[in-house]
Symmetry: C3
Subunit: 635 residues, 3 copies
Amino acid sequence: MKPELGVCYYPEHWPEANWAKDAARMIETGLTWVRIGEFAWSRLEPTPGNLQFDWLDRAIETLGSAGLKIVLGTPTATPPRWMMDKFPDMRAVDAEGHLRKFGSRRHYCFSHVGYIDECKRIAQILGQRYGRNPHIATWQIDNEYGCHDTTLSYSDAALNAFRRWLADRYGPIEALNTAWGNVFWSMEYNSFDQIELPNQTVTEPNPAHVLAFHRFSSDQVVAFNKAQVDALRPLTDAPLLHNYMGRVLDFDHFDVGDDLDIATWDSYPIGFLSDRLEADEAHRVAFLQQGDPDMQAFHHDLYRAVGRGRWWVMEQQPGPVNWAPYNPAPLPGMVRLWSLEAVAHGAEVVSYFRWRQAPFGQEQMHTGLLTPNGHGAPGLAEARQAADDLAALGEVQPARAPVAIVFDYASNWAWTTQPQGAGFDYFRLVFSAYRALRRAGLSVDFVPPAKVGEKHYYLILAPGVAVLGSLEQQLLQGCDLAIMGPRTGAITEDYQIPHAGRPGLDHLSSHVDLIETLPPQVVRTVDGGGNAEHWVEHLSGEAKTKLSFADGTPMLQGDAGLWYLAGFPDETLWDRVITMAAKETDLTLHMMPAGLRRREMQSHEVLINYNAHPISWNGLQIEGCDVLFRKHDSH
Amino acid sequence: MKPELGVCYYPEHWPEANWAKDAARMIETGLTWVRIGEFAWSRLEPTPGNLQFDWLDRAIETLGSAGLKIVLGTPTATPPRWMMDKFPDMRAVDAEGHLRKFGSRRHYCFSHVGYIDECKRIAQILGQRYGRNPHIATWQIDNEYGCHDTTLSYSDAALNAFRRWLADRYGPIEALNTAWGNVFWSMEYNSFDQIELPNQTVTEPNPAHVLAFHRFSSDQVVAFNKAQVDALRPLTDAPLLHNYMGRVLDFDHFDVGDDLDIATWDSYPIGFLSDRLEADEAHRVAFLQQGDPDMQAFHHDLYRAVGRGRWWVMEQQPGPVNWAPYNPAPLPGMVRLWSLEAVAHGAEVVSYFRWRQAPFGQEQMHTGLLTPNGHGAPGLAEARQAADDLAALGEVQPARAPVAIVFDYASNWAWTTQPQGAGFDYFRLVFSAYRALRRAGLSVDFVPPAKVGEKHYYLILAPGVAVLGSLEQQLLQGCDLAIMGPRTGAITEDYQIPHAGRPGLDHLSSHVDLIETLPPQVVRTVDGGGNAEHWVEHLSGEAKTKLSFADGTPMLQGDAGLWYLAGFPDETLWDRVITMAAKETDLTLHMMPAGLRRREMQSHEVLINYNAHPISWNGLQIEGCDVLFRKHDSH
Amino acid sequence: MKPELGVCYYPEHWPEANWAKDAARMIETGLTWVRIGEFAWSRLEPTPGNLQFDWLDRAIETLGSAGLKIVLGTPTATPPRWMMDKFPDMRAVDAEGHLRKFGSRRHYCFSHVGYIDECKRIAQILGQRYGRNPHIATWQIDNEYGCHDTTLSYSDAALNAFRRWLADRYGPIEALNTAWGNVFWSMEYNSFDQIELPNQTVTEPNPAHVLAFHRFSSDQVVAFNKAQVDALRPLTDAPLLHNYMGRVLDFDHFDVGDDLDIATWDSYPIGFLSDRLEADEAHRVAFLQQGDPDMQAFHHDLYRAVGRGRWWVMEQQPGPVNWAPYNPAPLPGMVRLWSLEAVAHGAEVVSYFRWRQAPFGQEQMHTGLLTPNGHGAPGLAEARQAADDLAALGEVQPARAPVAIVFDYASNWAWTTQPQGAGFDYFRLVFSAYRALRRAGLSVDFVPPAKVGEKHYYLILAPGVAVLGSLEQQLLQGCDLAIMGPRTGAITEDYQIPHAGRPGLDHLSSHVDLIETLPPQVVRTVDGGGNAEHWVEHLSGEAKTKLSFADGTPMLQGDAGLWYLAGFPDETLWDRVITMAAKETDLTLHMMPAGLRRREMQSHEVLINYNAHPISWNGLQIEGCDVLFRKHDSH
């Protein structure tokens, strides 16, 4: 694989006279891919049925003949204003009951059948016109599903679809009442038509009700995407993809990904650190202009799994963005670093957002590779440098990761519904585990529940996986050591506490007597070092205790092949657990200093320094904000 | 009186085969009471008019014949789903105008006449069937009025009832305009039909309007409860009760209590510390797993007054709950401590919530005495221990309290409407007074305004009582020394500043020149020690000044039998004031160390140590999380 | 000019028997003006068409014949309840879609044509009756436009008017689409009827859309005011005025002011410090009972510009108010200090709010000069003292200010729409510039964009002025040195980034490569001292760099007559910039200690000490909370 670079471009924003010059300059910059079209519906069809594709024909011809491969987007994330006149009820309704208005983007409800038909129609028109066009090398469907809290909708369209979905799933209403435990608080229904969406209840709704609504809502995203896939497949052989967003967890990306060929995601490291990560002030300041050293890698590894090995960065931050609470600039070198880091994790393409900063609209303060009037912004030179680096690097292949983490979107829905403590969060827990593996210098895979056991690992972590069921056996077979807990296997598919006890703990003949959640200023000390924070389970039973709390109760119980963590580990405790696990499994660790990270490729060890200062490690010197590709034979 | 223990149980949640075993195990645990039925409407009447009481007959027979006395609840806090079809407008509307939906509990508006009739009907059906059943030893009406902010409703039903209530209270509209001062900002009405509920106004509504709405809303709760009382009274001789919640102040519990025989409350010490108390971080951490040392006692004493001497804890926290922001476990010994502390304050029964943890529904993370699959949770052994302790204690009687605090729900409504400073809160003020009395080792009574003067005390505190009127005379007659202020007597019944001056201060020939409220970081130092915080009144007049602010202005003015506090005292200042009051009245104080509390019974001095560590006091050693019943003759 | 004092009075709140006594006591206190009538509609017209003016005739006669000059208010800020029956849709709708209810004040939408007609009618009736009454010396129209967030309304009336306003402004819909850049995200409209108000969109709306809505909303306030001006002008020769509020920026006060004769504002120094100013805790505590030392002066200077030289304080805080989060009392001397400070800035009249504290209604905790039952509150003696001081002072004239700041309401709308960083705020920026000038002892003028160049100054600051256009030339001509930046000239009238570059920077042959915003804990150090905070621009180009960031990039670039600041200066950096500018322009600075401020009059140098302690400065001693008028010849 030879990784390439690309850029997002909006021909409809610029005079046609500039297109060829822009294309030439892209090529000069070392870019080989360009994404277009994904917000252009009002230009493709200014009024209903009035198709205007000439300009797009010419744009494709201009860009393609300059030597660029094109990602063509379906414009369904931005239905034009006239669509609202046709379907006034097509927009999503928020949890407070407000119909979300036209005037920005993503103004549709995933359950609106009329709009889905319109999306199939426009996808088919695009497919018919460009499906065999040699310049169209891949297709993007819609844009950033779930962004701006758009997965959950409380519209009538959603309500009706939810009732049908429930009836399909549960059959007779009595089955639903039993599955959900509706006898509690007399919540029993006489028919599916009595079921409402779970918002605006007097106090919290039944968690089974909420979890079902999340599952349904995720399925609606999958079906929405599938409708366009089905329209395009007969018309093109080019691969289909979608661009996901970081830490958007409202729908199951694996399920959407199963219908597509490539997963891509939109990587905004500095924006994410500012508003999507739990971190203390010192960490925020230290990495203010670099982003968190694990957040990008986490998503690279996650979307590699979503794409079944094929993945891109579709939108790479090239400078300050416009949407975080504070928007500082990347330190010099970071745009290049982010690009190369993605390649180290196996990206086929890294594509910058966007070519030229828009002088109008909501994102006019979002930097591009060029300023609005066409000067090179600081990101341009770094993109050029990254292109040179990639040329020098040549052909590369990802290495096999020795360890994996189970990532399960439904667990996030479950624990968001009943966190039990304000400090407990599924992503936060999984991310703490991921960080621990990365501090140990390990390359990490993510595995969706459905695929656990397909590949074998030294070690699989499955913290907080809500529903275990038969996954337990797959886990035990899929690795030398599986570490579960805290909260793994804690509920059934229908949000009940498993009657027979928790699958994983049962295997250890252990059980949970009590669960506690802790405020931020309180932790539980573990004998020998480290603490549990946020979440603590009181275990009893016959399993061997490998780590104990200061009061002698078990923190880590385990047996051959299966360990269980009775609390949410802090960094010190995670490091102890990973070290113990490495001993158990003959896994080699490479302890990394703060801000320096390591990723294996088949041919290279890649060292990525998120610090502003140089770091010495293992006899190597890595400059601040720099990446070192060390050939395996270069010792 | 021989105090007893009980438990809350939901036969409808469990296989009928288990009922007898559960009952036997309750008896083994030393429990003699069981509460059932209060959320079972959907099982008693699955569809309109389709009564299914066989299962309840059998449950009552099984539990009763095992030796348990039964509290039977009316199920009106959870109307079944079909009721919503009958009365779509029966649910409460919140201040933002949202109809609160079905799917949890308490989904009704207290003003909906159709639903009130349904409640009378189901209460009557229950009364007819079980009113003379020997196992039914008492009745609980509804469950936790006011919980989940359900007292105030902005529905059409409430609006119409409010207009009638106003017309009844004020007669001609001109009288209301005058009483409320509606000439201010041209708010005058031409008829009662023009009056809206006081939400969503451009800026704050007239405080007189808001206070009237609070009074009305409280009266609606009283009437709602009374409807079921009237249905049951002819059908049973068993006492009637309700289970109130801690720090729920939206309706007048004394008024509801006047129609019942026993007051009970639901005591969740750790949940309350986490989300219902002003406290600094050090205090929250020190008592994280015990609860605040005065919060339970406060409510015990308050509900003893509401029950006119007869009161229970209906729901006692047995382990972590599910609803606070953080839910840590009680320290070992605390479940027993809470139980015995309640007895020390005169509880007839302490009943744990709940027998077995539910594996489904909203409260599946709420601990019971048993885990969902029937293991004994930590609380079970402590309940057994408490039962043994009570058996050893034998017959007890409460002692007479030497001091009292006037507790007035309407004052809370008044000061919530116009706090004037964000730090001023009625409960906070009264609780600070209560804590001061407890630091002095005193047993405390609460007295509603209507009963001041019925019993005589050494000392009565009446801080923040909004409307004095004729209460002033009762206060002076009811004790050797009454301490008023701050903000006592500050408004009239219709929320005006009394034209003639404040009743209490007038008695002292003193008056208020100015009122200040202070941010948290600013206090006013008092000569000789201590500070006023939050609220300061500038007094002038002829009364003797007993304590002065650093600038020489009066902090405490007083005369024989009546003192007035010109600010909100901090702990040091409260201690000084109580010490001065004790000298004035020959009251004996017992200064207590932090976390140790004292309560007198006729036969015993009870010492309750909320600290995790042992405490020595007065020659006695009290273990951490322990209770000592010291016989008065044991010196 | 001989400055005078006045007071706000509500005859309709008090027995008629008291009016004459009140009037006599006002005169005794040294007051010569009284404002009445502005909330009295329900007494003037209790039912539609039923005019009741006798009481007002008598009140005017009583007050006037006592020697008081009367400001008569039109009562349009408080339409009576029956008006809601006539126009149920006349009330504003908030951004969440709630119709704001009757029951307080300002319950109208500026765009409701029916209500505007009613306002014209009542103004005309008042004008016909009192337009030539010799006691009516001036007229106040409405009260505190914009207070309680009432400028923006999302009602149908506003929507329809907005569409007409847009059609008038833009002509064909294509022009609007182009001007707003609606091609972005396919936001193009086919007709004006498709345009909605910019609330409740899925994510942020187009900033051009929001800015247009702000401009429209401001124009609606201007038109609303103008309707009453037009009704009154033919009927009276007395000057017309309005009372604005501090830091209310939702409409353009200059535009409203252009239709009036005098600008007045309502000054509540302690309330403002508590809830309308960015400040650290130390500053809040130091000036808790005095108010911020620059906030009042800022508004005095601003409203002098709004009134084209003629301005008053219509409502002067006389003691604690009722509406801030915390409401402490002014320190002794502050009521007098505030009064005299206003005079130093050129106020014609300072009028206290209010004569006697109301015992009812929303403001019953708002202090007056008298307590509700008629005692003198602390403010009364200070008002009397201020009257004596003014008598001693005699005739005064304001001096010419050597420096000016451009103040542009539209810039606030622009930057509120897209702050880009949570720390960036237009008022905050301008206020920081104002403070810097005041620390240098300078008297300051504000200049609206339309009048830049009419007077010549040594120095004009134009920080954050959003749209420069032809203003650039006026600025350069209007002063010896203009300092622009940060963010000056950053957008066009239609919220686009200027295609040709920023006007001011272009003049310097400089341009912006990148913009960063910073969180509070991060600053950018400037060589030689001081920091930029919140906002940093990366400049490049040929202009001379006068100050550099630590990394060598420009912080201040400049050429003869024009300097540009590339960041938001902290206090140290502002002081450096002002000092450099003074050298450049031969401006004399008078560096002031903290809390002491200086204002020039023609005859006097006035020194105002906001500190509680005395200050020595320039050989003078100024007591705490005191004002010193030093005659220029008194050296």
